[in-house]
């Protein structure tokens, strides 16, 4: 088994890279909808990419979370390079860390759209997201106007306990390796967000993809 980065996953639990069955996918869609999360099923990454583009309003402030999923299907590039949106990462990156710290926090906290992924989604419709810095969690909970999540269906797990195990036993080793190579620093599960229910109709959209995306 190998993930999209080509790294060997032999030592990682195989159960967490296995695609969900049709029945598991259907059950998860129904549960997410029941929990106030708009749910769309995409056949593959390419369709997911088109579905996300259809969700985003041109000219809007969009923050793309650090996500192997988004990078692998070209969504990070769509957001940062297409010119169709205001990609907040680019604005933040060129700001003066010393003089504009307040502006950076404000800007990163309340984008029109956050596009990202999750680390696990349960059969009864909960979403689990881990973060080293935690900076992307606030906007997902309430700061962002809309949250669009692209989720490979290998992330479907039985319950929250299994989801937490997926984060520690599967996602963390992979993310840690990625962070060390990309940024020269380790990753850590410093924060975990669990979304059980969304009370604002239409605010969170989950695009479940029938293929393995990200980790």
């Amino acid at each position: 088994v190998a993930d999209l980065s080509g790294q060997s996953l032999a030592h990682l639990p195989e159960e967490f890279s296995r695609l969900a069955t049709v029945e598991q996918l259907s059950a998860t869609v129904a549960a997410l909808e029941g929990n106030g999360i708009v749910c769309i099923v995409a056949e593959d990454g390419e369709e997911a990419r088109r579905l996300v583009a259809a969700q985003l309003v041109e000219g809007a402030e969009v923050f793309n979370n650090t996500s192997r999923t988004l990078e692998s299907i070209g969504l990070a590039e769509d957001i940062e390079q297409s010119g169709r949106y205001q990609p907040l990462r680019l604005r933040l990156y060129q700001m003066d860390r010393e003089m504009q710290e307040h502006e950076m926090r404000v800007l990163a906290s309340s984008p029109d759209y956050v596009v990202g992924s999750v680390h696990a989604v349960t059969l009864d419709g909960s979403l689990l997201i881990a973060s080293a810095s935690g900076s992307q969690l606030g906007p997902m909970v309430s700061g962002a106007g809309h949250v669009v999540l692209v989720i490979g269906s290998q992330k479907i797990v039985a319950d929250i306990d299994t989801g937490l195990r997926r984060i520690y036993e599967y996602c963390l080793p992979l993310e840690d390796d990625r962070a060390r190579r990309a940024y020269g620093m380790p990753s850590a599960v410093n924060n975990i967000l669990i979304i059980n229910r969304v009370v604002q109709p239409g605010r969170v959209t989950a695009i479940l993809v029938r293929e393995r995306l990200g980790f």
Partner: protein
């Protein structure tokens, strides 16, 4: 790198610039990218990360700076024009005719763009370098209305550009006005990239450029480690450096505060006896309470010493004429402005002895209209001696040199543009 940065840097390839820090061309590209809000990664030519790219392009210093664009294309040596083109920033105007053409996208020009386009005028703004003007390079404006904790110049400019574009203004960067002539009552404008369009009214909002410091040898060192302006692209690279800033106004004060966050020592060189008359009190307080800012009043630069780069400033006390040498790693010159009115003069606008564009009632001597004036009415406020061509902001004679005042003039100008358009429509 902090956790926040870890989570907020772009994840797709950005511009990579490889060169020597002391290269004027590399500085011009860094300044252009910074002021246009285009993120880039600077890699010094001696950094190991530069080796593979240099090897690909050719190990030849004359090919520096090298620019790697997000699509992988290499420019070697890179120039501002090539980088702007490579990033798709030189798109031609979308229309052949506009109601209002604004020359200069500083605070006055951007305000006019927002008001013009929000009121339904087909509006285009042309900017020689980057939107924001001099205010756009200001690190933090703390007394701008409505921002109790302050707003940085570049954030103000970024927001204004987004606002103007949202209302439909077209903004062209990296080109300037080359020619303008009447075509009937309309103006035909030609830009430096040879693109052309017509406009029913024109607003000159070209602002000011930094006044030149008159010291022997300065031209040879510009862009190496001597810079005009607040150097927004340079602050983060001044870690542990000894920085000198010349000037006693708010721009110099804001630059001093910004550099104090990064540099080991900042020396503010001021010719006057005190900063009190020329700098806002809040900045003065900030400077007084910042340990690594040293203010030297009654001091001027009379010489530069170096070896291809500035190493020492020769300072003179204005009263005693005592000389002193100051070890300096970077010098930033913020000594006020001279009007950027060459475009205006080129099309026949009247300027005063200082080069500022004369407008409105100041053009009328008694009841005598300006030479060549063909209309029955006198020039409108902010209108130049050329009917339908207005001026606003720092380039205009009599303007108050404040960001908020320039924004006010930009808004005012649109009101008078409407009056001019009604006149043309026979209203």
């Amino acid at each position: 790198m902090t956790m926040f940065e870890y989570d907020s840097r772009p994840v797709t390839p950005q511009v990579v610039l490889i060169g020597t820090r002391a290269s004027p061309v590399a500085y011009a590209v860094r300044d252009f990218l910074t002021r246009n809000g285009r993120p880039y990664e600077w890699i010094d030519v001696d950094d190991v990360r530069a080796r593979s790219i240099i090897a690909e392009v050719g190990d030849d210093r004359s090919l520096l700076p090298i620019c790697v664009l997000p699509d992988g294309a290499r420019l070697a040596p890179a120039s501002v024009e090539q980088v702007a083109f490579g990033l798709g920033m030189l798109a031609p105007p979308l229309q052949s005719a506009y109601d209002l053409a604004i020359v200069g996208a500083g605070p006055a020009g951007l305000a006019a763009a927002v008001y013009g386009s929000s009121e339904g005028l087909a509006t285009i703004a042309v900017e020689a370098v980057a939107p924001g003007g001099q205010a756009g390079t200001t690190s933090m404006i703390e007394n701008y209305l409505g921002f109790p904790t302050g707003i940085s110049g570049n954030e103000l400019a970024t927001r204004a550009v987004l606002q103007a574009r949202r209302f439909g203004t077209e903004i062209l960067v990296a080109r300037h006005l080359a020619r303008a002539s009447y075509e009937g009552h309309d103006l035909k404008l030609a830009l430096s990239d040879s693109s052309e369009f017509t406009a029913r009214a024109v607003l000159l909002a070209t602002g000011v450029e930094w006044r030149r410091l008159n010291v022997e040898g300065i031209d040879d060192l510009l862009g190496t480690n001597i810079f005009y302006g607040a150097g927004p692209s340079e602050a983060a690279s001044c870690g542990n450096a000894r920085v000198a800033i010349v000037g006693g106004g708010n721009s110099a004060g804001q630059a001093a505060v910004r550099f104090s966050k990064y540099a080991a020592r900042v020396t503010l060189l001021v010719r006057a006896e005190s900063l009190a008359a020329s700098m806002s009190q809040y900045l003065l307080d900030r400077i007084t309470h910042t340990e690594n800012i040293d203010v030297r009043t009654c001091t001027e630069i009379v010489g530069l010493e170096g070896d291809g780069q500035l190493r020492r400033l020769v300072l003179s006390r204005t009263v005693t004429r005592d000389l002193e040498r100051l070890e300096t790693d970077a010098l930033f010159i913020c000594i006020g402005g001279t009007p950027r009115s060459a475009d205006a003069v080129g099309i026949g606008a009247i300027t005063d002895a200082g080069g500022y564009v004369v407008t409105g009632y100041e053009l009328v001597e008694g009841t005598v209209p300006p030479k060549g004036w063909t209309l029955q009415r006198p020039p409108l406020p902010l209108e130049t001696n050329l009917p339908g061509i207005f001026a606003a902001g720092d380039v205009r004679r009599g303007s108050i040199k404040r960001c908020a005042a320039a924004i006010g003039e930009g808004a005012m100008a649109v009101a008078f543009v409407h009056r001019r358009l009604e006149e043309l429509d026979g209203g």
